[in-house]
Symmetry: C2
Subunit: 339 residues, 2 copies
């Protein structure tokens, strides 16, 4: 922290290491990639020089020929409560294989996602892991053509060029709705996304699951959706409308805790008793749902496990697998006061 002089010692390159160890550059490279044809003696010499010189290979240079040992992770939106646990799983699994994850945040906009993916490709990342991308199926396929890719939170069970790992949203929704039906409720309604966003197929799956449960219980005629209007979860009057409607149902299943938490708060503000007058189940099992003052029942998607599986799938794809894998993880119901 002196004046300014402290000139940084030039960074060691593979050549420096080779010279120091008294071997060829190619030999060092082989050791780095633990490629075939390296004797123990040589490996040791090289390792020693590497440590001595504090050498780290330049990912940028690597990108020009071989692997970067880095994968790009595209996140929809930092506020998404599903993310942290997924990323935990991803990092753990990648870390074991000595891979690093570098992430971009798409702000839930296809344009931004597109440009972020381009950046990742331009950096020559070895693979892509997309979490709940907004991009359409064939756009995704186009990218998958160029490099290994795994998608989370986007149902595309017939995709041939990439893998998917998802919570079984249809089944999860059905489980949630059945829990409400078991309590004796008949008019179970669902709060869902706007139509165009439900095309974000995770939410469509949850709608199917809701339908499944209702139909199976012989309540097909009681099916009813309350659709939020805003793009993303901004309070927009839908929930107020539901609460004030003469048709207010005794039980509601919500596409996400985001809506369910708003619902439970606004119900309390109106003096509506939960769960006696209004039973609620949300989705995602956010930390907020677990607060005693909220006590919201919800569906746990097992994010960590999803992250681990997705990362493992990506690694095996990087190693050459090309036959697609599509996994569905069964979510778990967490019952709390609201049901």
């Amino acid at each position: 922290m002196s004046k300014s002089g402290t000139t940084t010692p030039a960074r060691a390159t593979i050549r420096t290491v080779a010279a120091d160890a008294g071997v060829s550059v190619a030999a060092v490279s082989k050791v780095l990639r633990n490629a075939y044809g390296v004797s123990d003696g040589l490996r040791d010499k090289v390792q020693k020089s590497i440590e001595k010189l504090d050498y780290r290979p330049s990912t940028a240079a690597r990108g020009m020929r071989g692997r970067t040992y880095t994968v790009g992770v595209l996140l929809v939106e930092l506020r998404n409560p599903f993310l942290p646990s997924v990323i935990d799983g991803v990092q753990r699994t990648l870390g074991k294989a000595n891979y690093k994850a570098l992430m971009g945040v798409g702000e839930a906009r296809a344009k931004i996602e597109q440009s972020l993916i381009d950046s990742m490709v331009d950096m020559r990342m070895d693979g892509l892991l997309l979490v709940a991308p907004r991009l359409s199926g064939d756009r995704l396929a186009r990218h998958a053509q160029r490099l290994p890719m795994v998608v989370i939170g986007h149902h595309e069970p017939t995709a041939a060029l990439f893998d998917t790992v998802n919570s079984d949203d249809r089944r999860g929704a059905r489980i949630a709705v059945e829990a409400l039906l078991t309590r004796g409720h008949k008019d179970v309604h669902m709060i869902s996304m706007p139509e165009e966003n439900a095309a974000q197929n995770v939410y469509r799956e949850r709608e199917y699951g809701y339908r499944d449960a209702m139909v199976a219980a012989g309540l097909a005629d009681r099916i009813r959706f309350w659709r939020q209007k805003e793009r993303f979860a901004q309070p927009d009057g839908t929930i107020d409308a539901l609460l004030e409607s003469p048709d207010r149902p005794p039980a509601v299943f919500c596409w996400s805790d985001i809506a369910a938490v708003e619902l439970i708060n606004k119900a309390a503000a109106r003096g509506i008793n939960v769960p006696e007058d209004l039973a609620i189940i949300g989705y995602d099992d956010t930390p907020t749902a677990a607060l005693p003052l909220i006590g919201l029942s919800s569906m746990d998607q097992h994010g960590t496990q999803i992250g681990e599986l997705a990362a493992a799938a990506l690694l095996s794809r990087i190693e050459g697998r090309t036959v697609p894998e599509h996994r569905l993880i069964e979510p778990g119901l967490i019952l709390r006061r609201s049901t």
Copy 2:
């Protein structure tokens, strides 16, 4: 999406573009970097070819000589409620300058942070933006020696080699505590981090601010800290102890909403009335604090603004500035039911 054949057309390189436009490779490079010595005619020709061939320069290759137009952003921990708004600001500002952000998640562990920063350096990113890093001051300085760097959420006002942008935590804490004092409370206590974590100096600053307010009110002898034990915000009995203590104070200032939300929930569970029997102010103004059922007063750090300023600082550093800048943003008090 056919069988597998669909061989991807080889990606266009700067050479392809040069050939197509009938100019030299160097000319194309100049256009890309809008460097000196390009006529309008030449620029047009090149631009046209670039679009026609859908050419994008390889960041990896760029990294070997010049800039990558990418900055690395290191995040402490995805669950940190302060992050989303900061990143919004960062992305907006970087985007305008045609820079991209790629992020790493340090999981609040210095080891991981270190290795992530190394990765970013290895990728030849043009600069580093660290958000609430756990790394020590001189470790930070060491990195700053190698490339432009800006730090958020870590007070280091005398650092010579990098910039900092922070919320004025000391002042914010003082404002919060004064709001409690104004209500007539004398015994205002503070829930804080464990000692070693308070060395995470953001929290130490908040402790100073608490002290400042108490001392200024002539209540130095009433100062009292309740320190949580766990590394990060896991409920650990501290809050239960406070609530059951015979010395239970009438007002509490919390180092973060994380603690405050736990406090307000546990108080409710014990039938303690907030704010009559217990007034509370948290920090961070998380979405949870704003829920009607919670109604927690809190300090807004103006994260978006911090993100914008930090990104702007980083860009100007990349452009060559070397004299350090240390900015403090005044946070705002958000009063809700809990006070």
